[in-house]
């Protein structure tokens, strides 16, 4: 019985060692989507995902579903993602968000540099100035 248990434990460990844990993430419209797997058809089920900022402060901790997937709102524009697959297996990814976080969406106009705003205003003034000059009454 003990031998059988040891054999099962040995084969389980061997199988796990044969597989490297992988982490894939992308974001869309302020949401982060994470997928973790050993191979494409072997998801990292119910694995813990940890998001941390550059000072290693925890931003979020959650678990994958049975397909190895999870999603949540983007907590920051840049953070570290770690997946823990048990038995010392983990994978880490430095992540730069491509879509805006919810907080950033509220302040989106502020993203526009002042130089671009000034240029836009200058173009408008020039356009209406030119229009005014063309349409001005002819001098007699």
């Amino acid at each position: 019985m003990i031998v059988r248990f040891l054999l099962i434990a040995f084969f389980s460990i061997s199988a796990l060692y044969a597989h490297k844990i992988n982490l894939f993430a992308y974001d869309e419209e302020g949401s982060l989507y994470v997928q973790s797997y050993f191979t494409k058809s072997a998801p990292c089920k119910q694995c813990t995902i940890l998001l941390q900022d550059s000072q290693d402060k925890e931003l979020a901790r959650f678990q994958t579903d049975d397909e190895g997937k999870a999603s949540l709102k983007l907590p920051a524009p840049h953070f570290k993602i770690t997946v823990e697959g048990g038995m010392g297996h983990q994978a880490t990814l430095d992540y730069e968000a491509k879509s805006h976080t919810k907080e950033e969406l509220k302040t989106l106009p502020a993203d526009m540099p002042l130089s671009k705003v000034a240029l836009g205003l200058a173009i408008i003034v020039f356009f209406f100035g030119a229009l005014f000059w063309i349409k001005r009454p002819a001098r007699r």
Binding site: K20, N22, F24, Q35, Y37, T39, K40, S41, L93
Partner: protein, 247 residues
């Protein structure tokens, strides 16, 4: 004069024609998910290009589904010959097979048409599965060794299929895409040749880092009419893969 002409024809026929499909990366990482694909009709070792017409079909095969890349294809002039390129952004883990079915090329020196159905296989984000699945081309090489993340010096094994069935004793031409200006001792060294076993399985060692092409040449059951005459078709099952040097 006759002898000269005959030897010229023999010399040109010694050069193996290869359709290529090569990507700028065969293992895709998250930092760069955009894959650039180039399509050429060439003599890979000598780097002698031929004009390539817009192919009949070009696409990507992912998880049992084909997606056409034909609308995105752009012609590129290289050494005064037409080649083609496209790109594809990968959005999820998996194995992606980029393939092309070119317009049949008439080779007057051999009195036949050449049609090389060609593919290369790319892994995205360490998915690790699906590289051994056929795309479903009429002639196809299906790998038995993982066809990416290979080291120079590895032994590569694969199976030749025609209409989905193994081709016993198929003849496979092997060429190195020679961008390093390597010189062969003589013409016989340019194209290596191996034969498959009774189950269509062959093995090849890959001594150099870079791109390697394998072309299993099969007499197709279809003929093509050209200027009132019916010509046989050399149907090629072609696979390209890249090896890397251990640093």
């Amino acid at each position: 004069m006759k002898i000269l002409l005959a030897s010229l024809v023999c010399a040109t026929s010694l050069l193996a024609h290869f359709q290529t499909v090569m990507t700028d990366q065969s293992v895709v990482e998250q930092k760069n998910p955009k894959v650039s694909i180039q399509y050429e009709f060439t003599h890979p070792f000598e780097q002698q290009l031929m004009n390539m017409q817009k192919p009949k079909e070009a696409g990507v095969f992912f998880e049992g589904k084909k997606t056409s890349l034909l609308p995105n294809l752009q012609s590129v002039e290289k050494n005064k010959m037409t080649t083609w390129k496209s790109d594809y952004t990968i959005k999820e883990p998996g194995v992606y097979q980029f393939y092309v079915d070119p317009m049949p090329y008439f080779e007057p020196a051999e009195d036949k048409f050449i049609r090389h159905q060609t593919k290369t296989i790319v892994d995205a984000f360490n998915s690790g599965e699906g590289w051994d699945k056929p795309v479903g081309l009429k002639a196809e090489i299906v790998p038995l060794s993982r066809p990416y993340s290979l080291y120079a010096g590895n032994l590569f094994s694969a199976k030749v299929l025609y209409k989905g069935k193994p081709v016993p004793n198929a003849e496979i031409e092997v060429e190195y895409y020679n961008t390093k200006g390597l010189k062969a001792p003589n013409d016989m060294y340019v194209t290596q040749v191996v034969k498959a076993d009774g189950n269509g399985i062959f093995h090849v060692a890959l001594p150099l880092e870079g791109w390697w092409g394998f072309a299993a040449l099969i007499d197709d059951d279809e003929k093509i009419k050209h200027e009132g005459k019916s010509y046989p078709v050399e149907l090629g099952a072609v696979l390209w893969l890249k090896t890397e040097k251990i640093q």
